[in-house]
C-alpha cells in the first residue's frame, strides 16, 4: 500500500517484479541500479543463495523526482522465482502497489511462465488484491535468445487484460526502463483515481 507522508512530503510505493525462476527479475533491478543516478537510488540489497539465486528478495529504493511537491519514492522488490519458495513470494506481495510480470521467452519455459502467472493471481488474492485490477505490466524478456518464442504467441498466452507489454533483454537493458515507467505510471494514475 502506498504511504503518503505529509510531514516529509513524500509518497512511497511498492513495485514487485514477479516471474518464474531465472527469468531475469534480479537482472532488471541490477540494470536499473547501474543506470540510475547515485542521488536517485539507495543500496541494492540481494538476499541470495551462494549460487546467486534469489532466496528471499532483492530490494532497490529509487527516487523518481517530484510530483506536485511530493517526492515519489519507488521501492522495487523481486520475488524468488523457484517454485518451492512460494511462502516467501506471498509475503513479498504484501502491500504491493504495482506488479511487473517478467516472462522468460524461451520455448522451454512456456509452462513455467504460465504456472508462475497462475501463482501470481493466487498469491495476490491471498493478500487481498485482484490481478485484474492491480497496476500491472508484462515484460517478455530474453528476446535475444535463438530459442525465443514469437512475441505474438507469448502475447496470446500471457497477456490477459490488454496490459502494456514490452520486449526486453534485461542483460543489456533493452526494455527495462520502458517496463518500469509503464508500471510506475499506472500506479500514479491509480493514486489519482482514489
Amino acid at each position: 500500500m502506498s504511504f503518503i507522508n505529509y510531514a516529509a512530503r513524500e509518497i512511497n510505493v511498492k513495485i514487485v517484479f514477479y516471474g518464474p525462476g531465472l527469468c531475469g527479475k534480479t537482472t532488471n533491478l541490477q540494470y536499473i541500479y547501474e543506470k540510475s543516478n547515485p542521488q536517485q537510488k539507495g543500496k541494492l540489497i540481494s538476499l541470495a543463495t551462494e549460487t546467486d539465486r534469489t532466496l528471499f528478495f532483492d530490494f532497490l529504493p529509487l527516487d523518481l523526482g517530484s510530483v506536485r511537491g511530493f517526492k515519489t519514492r519507488f521501492h522495487l522488490y523481486t520475488v524468488p522465482g523457484q517454485v518451492f519458495y512460494d511462502a516467501s513470494r506471498r509475503l513479498i506481495l504484501k502491500g504491493v502497489d504495482g506488479v511487473v510480470f517478467v516472462a522468460d521467452s524461451q520455448e522451454a519455459r512456456t509452462d513455467a511462465n504460465i504456472e508462475s502467472l497462475r501463482n501470481l493471481g493466487e498469491n495476490l488474492r491471498e493478500n487481498g488484491f485482484d490481478v485484474k485490477t492491480i497496476p500491472y505490466v508484462l515484460q517478455l524478456n530474453k528476446r535475444d535468445l535463438p530459442s525465443a518464442v514469437a512475441v505474438e504467441t507469448l502475447y496470446r498466452l500471457l497477456n490477459f487484460k490488454g496490459e502494456p507489454t514490452f520486449e526486453a533483454v534485461a542483460t543489456t537493458g533493452i526494455g527495462v526502463f520502458e517496463t518500469l515507467k509503464a508500471v510506475a505510471k499506472q500506479v500514479l494514475y491509480e493514486l489519482r483515481r482514489r
Binding site: F3, N5, A8, F59, P61, V67, R68, S88, L91, K94
Partner: protein, 176 residues
C-alpha cells in the same frame, strides 16, 4: 484486543487502506521515539510499517542506511510471522538479535507497525523491553488518533496530493 486492533480488524485504517501521515502525528511520534531512545539508553529507535516503509526515527539515524534497514526489518518480521503461523502461533511479537557490539530489538505495535530499537552495552535487553512496553502503549494511542483522523478526512473527502495530477506531471517524472 486493543482499540487499534479492533479498528484495523474492521478495516478502517484509512479510506483506501493506505497509510497517510500528517505533520502533527509525525511530530508526536518523533517525540515519543526520542523519549524512548533516551529512556532505554538506545542508539537508534525507529518505526517502520509492515510493508517496509520507514515512518519516523530518532537517534543516530544518519549513521545507518535506514531505507534498507526498514525493508529488511519488514522482511524479517514477515518471515517470522510466516514461521509463527506454520507452528500455529498468531505471531512472535518480539524479535531480538544479539551482536558482538550492537543489538536489535524488534517489536510489533498495533498489529501494523514495527518498532526497532538498536542499542549497545550502554543499555540492556531488560531495560529496552521495559521501556518499549511503555512506549508501545503511547504509540498505539497516537496511531488510533491517526486512524480516526484519516477516516474523518476520508469522510470529508480531503483530496490526496495526487487527485489533480495531470498526464504531463507523470510524463515529466520520466523526461530526464
Amino acid at each position: 484486543m486493543s482499540v487499534l486492533e479492533r479498528e484495523i480488524t474492521r478495516g478502517l485504517w484509512t479510506v483506501d487502506g493506505s497509510l497517510v501521515m500528517y505533520e502533527e502525528e509525525f511530530d508526536r511520534i518523533t517525540l515519543l521515539l526520542n523519549r524512548l531512545r533516551i529512556d532505554a539508553s538506545a542508539k537508534i529507535v525507529f518505526l517502520v510499517d509492515k510493508n517496509g516503509q520507514q515512518i519516523a526515527g530518532a537517534g543516530e539515524i544518519d549513521q545507518v542506511d535506514t531505507t534498507s534497514l526498514a525493508s529488511l526489518t519488514a522482511g524479517n518480521v514477515a518471515a517470522t510471522d510466516g514461521l509463527a503461523k506454520l507452528i500455529g502461533e498468531k505471531e512472535f511479537s518480539i524479535l531480538f538479535h544479539e551482536g558482538r557490539k550492537d543489538n536489535i530489538h524488534i517489536s510489533i505495535v498495533g498489529q501494523r507497525l514495527i518498532l526497532v530499537v538498536i542499542f549497545d552495552e550502554r543499555s540492556s535487553l531488560g531495560l529496552v523491553r521495559l521501556r518499549v512496553r511503555k512506549a508501545s502503549a503511547d504509540l498505539e494511542r497516537v496511531l488510533v488518533e491517526m486512524e480516526r483522523k484519516a477516516r474523518e478526512a476520508g469522510a470529508s473527502d480531503v483530496a490526496s496530493p495526487f487527485a489533480e495530477i495531470t498526464d504531463e506531471d507523470i510524463d515529466a517524472l520520466f523526461s530526464e
